[in-house]
């Protein structure tokens, strides 16, 4: 269905939908990466937007210094995100529960303030990216349709990758540690290393989403890393259905569409979204994937 959208949108002369769905797919990647650690690993990271920001800034800063090669930019985005995830994870995975939530949030806030305080890259105003990432003429991101299909392919690849990881030996150890940690230690697993590796994979994948998002907006700002963004990504995972393959896509789609609709209706859309969020947590716990036939996978 998603593959058909570009020709339909072109026929209807509504490029806006193309734009919206592209954003949905980028956030589906971010949500899928969070789903790996939150859904399967039980790590309630409230700082996932950090990697969105790092991926975005990697593209923006390299472009600022004249490096426009997409291979380099996106490679650095993924690599830098993985490194930062390694550092944040190494400290925060030693803790659990409320501590873990607050620490991941605090570290992301630190990066947010770092972004604001570096005047060279625009401070809190952000910075325009003059040229989109250049993939040696292979894919032209300036062409909305080409970018759309690239996002589609990458999103499907990421959803599939998370699915495979979650069901691999590694994934089973990760899920087991979430289900019953003392039992895991009892049969000979120490969850720390597995959790940390998952945390790094998730960071790297979200860094990719960040690189794509910077190209999507042609603009980077510390707002990429704002803590409400982390909350949104987290809500996408829950709304779509925690620990399901398609959940992140469903969650990103519904949340972003609802946001767009509400924002078109009233300036104060967050006053409506907020209570909706509370109600959905209180009364709708299975997630959208649970409603779809065959949508619930293990």
């Amino acid at each position: 269905m998603l593959t058909l959208l570009p020709p339909v949108a072109a026929a209807l002369q509504e490029p806006f939908y193309l734009d919206l769905v592209r954003k949905v797919m980028i956030f589906a990647i971010a949500a899928a990466s969070l789903n790996l650690i939150l859904g399967y690993g039980g790590m309630v990271s409230f700082g996932h937007a950090a990697y969105l920001g790092i991926g975005g800034y990697a593209v923006g800063v390299l472009a600022f210094y004249g490096t426009t090669s997409g291979w380099v930019q996106w490679g650095v985005a993924i690599g830098a995100s993985a490194l930062v995830a390694l550092a944040i994870g190494a400290v925060s995975i030693r803790t659990s529960g409320i501590y873990f939530i607050m620490i991941t949030l605090a570290f992301t806030q630190m990066l947010y303030y770092l972004g604001i305080s570096i005047e060279e890259y625009g401070g809190d105003d952000g910075m325009r990216i003059k040229a989109r990432s250049d993939f040696s003429g292979l894919i032209d991101l300036g062409d909305p349709v080409a970018f759309y299909y690239l996002a589609l392919v990458l999103m499907l690849a990421c959803l599939f990758l998370v699915h495979r990881i979650a069901n691999s030996r590694f994934g089973m150890v990760l899920r087991a540690a979430k289900s019953n940690e003392p039992r895991s230690r009892g049969i000979g697993f120490s969850p720390y290393a597995y959790r940390l590796v998952a945390f790094v994979i998730a960071g790297a994948m979200c860094g990719l989403a960040g690189a794509m998002f910077a190209n999507h907006t042609s603009f980077i700002t510390p707002e990429f890393m704002h803590w409400t963004r982390s909350g949104e990504i987290m809500f996408m995972v829950i709304l779509g259905g925690i620990a399901t393959t398609a959940g992140p896509l469903l969650g990103a789609l519904v949340l972003l569409v609802v946001e767009t609709l509400l924002a078109g209706w009233t300036e104060h859309w967050q006053a409506i979204l907020g209570p909706l969020l509370v109600l959905s947590v209180l009364f709708f716990r299975r997630g959208l994937a649970g409603l779809m036939p065959g949508g619930k996978d293990g």
Partner: protein, 308 residues
């Protein structure tokens, strides 16, 4: 560096610290006793400031307005607890985070609808203007001195209530053993609602006192909330003592870092480099401090047996 400047910044740090403490006290109790992650605590700080602005304008009297505003915040806190948070006690942290995140969006937008998005001015009354003289040649703003005084007084009162009264005994017992409390015939739901309301009023008080120093605007709660998280992580969840120590440490370190890191770096780096690195490092300082504390003491400086 002149000594008076250092002293002044140190006092500013303490002043920021006691405000952080007022926020952290309520939050850490709610964490420790009800095992609830309440992100919306920052919203209560904001609502305290706005309700007081409204009450001062309506009554025309500063002190009466503050009292009225804080009472309204207490009621609001209890209302939020009864309507939304009560059902979250038995849920996992994930649900609590999301639901209270939703509450923040709601309150921020509510404030924008009622009072607009531009910052309001909560003017301090004439009798709080001016300066006091610390010693010859060194003056300190009276208002900030009063903030420190009020903060320390509240901290002392809180310490007394928690460690020396029946209510405090119940609160501490509730942190470690809910069923024991119930067995004593105490209405635990009412106790929770009351504790939550007190926490809200303390957050509101911090918001009121912050008003003349920082801006009263939508979203003001979240900036301080995350710093309060750092305080609680450093101090140890559920511990009032830890919250107090953590708040002062964070307040002083943050304030001194912002004031002196740049000139200090300037002595070893080039001015341009110090200009660039100073503010960046200063804004990261408390988070790096948190990471260091965690590396050495994962449970914080004053772990409480009730929290987890």
């Amino acid at each position: 560096m002149p000594l008076t400047l250092v002293l002044e910044q140190l006092l500013n740090g303490v002043q920021f610290g006691v405000m952080l403490f007022l926020m952290a006290a309520g939050l850490t109790l709610v964490f420790g006793i009800m095992n609830l992650v309440n992100l919306a605590h920052g919203s209560l700080y904001m609502m305290g400031a706005y309700l007081t602005v409204a009450a001062v304008q309506w009554s025309g009297n500063y002190l009466a307005g503050v009292a009225l505003g804080l009472f309204a915040t207490l009621l609001l806190g209890m209302l939020v607890e009864v309507v939304a948070l009560r059902t979250l006690y038995d849920r996992d942290h994930l649900d609590q985070v999301l639901a209270t995140f939703g509450l923040i969006l709601f309150f921020n937008e509510l404030v924008a609808i009622l009072w607009g998005r531009t910052a309001l001015d909560l003017a301090r009354p004439d009798w709080l203007q001016g300066h006091i003289e610390l010693f010859a040649g060194s003056r300190y703003p009276l208002y900030r001195a009063v903030v420190i005084g009020v903060g320390l007084a509240v901290a002392a009162a809180l310490w007394y209530v928690v460690t020396r009264t029946r209510l405090g005994m119940l609160v501490r017992a509730g942190a470690s053993n809910r069923s024991m409390i119930a067995a004593l015939g105490v209405n635990i739901r009412l106790l929770y609602t009351f504790v939550f309301g007190i926490g809200a009023a303390l957050a509101g008080l911090a918001g009121v006192m912050a008003g003349p120093i920082y801006a009263v605007q939508p979203g003001m709660g979240e900036l301080i909330l995350i710093q309060v998280f750092v305080v609680i992580v450093i101090g140890g969840i559920g511990s009032i003592r830890g919250a107090f120590a953590g708040a002062l440490i964070v307040g002083v370190v943050d304030t001194l870092g912002r004031a002196f890191l740049k000139p200090l770096l300037g002595t070893v780096l080039s001015p341009a480099a110090a200009d660039a690195a100073g503010p960046a490092l200063a804004s990261m300082l408390i988070y790096l401090l948190m990471a260091a504390v965690l590396a050495l003491r994962p449970e914080g400086l004053f772990p409480s047996r009730g929290g987890q």
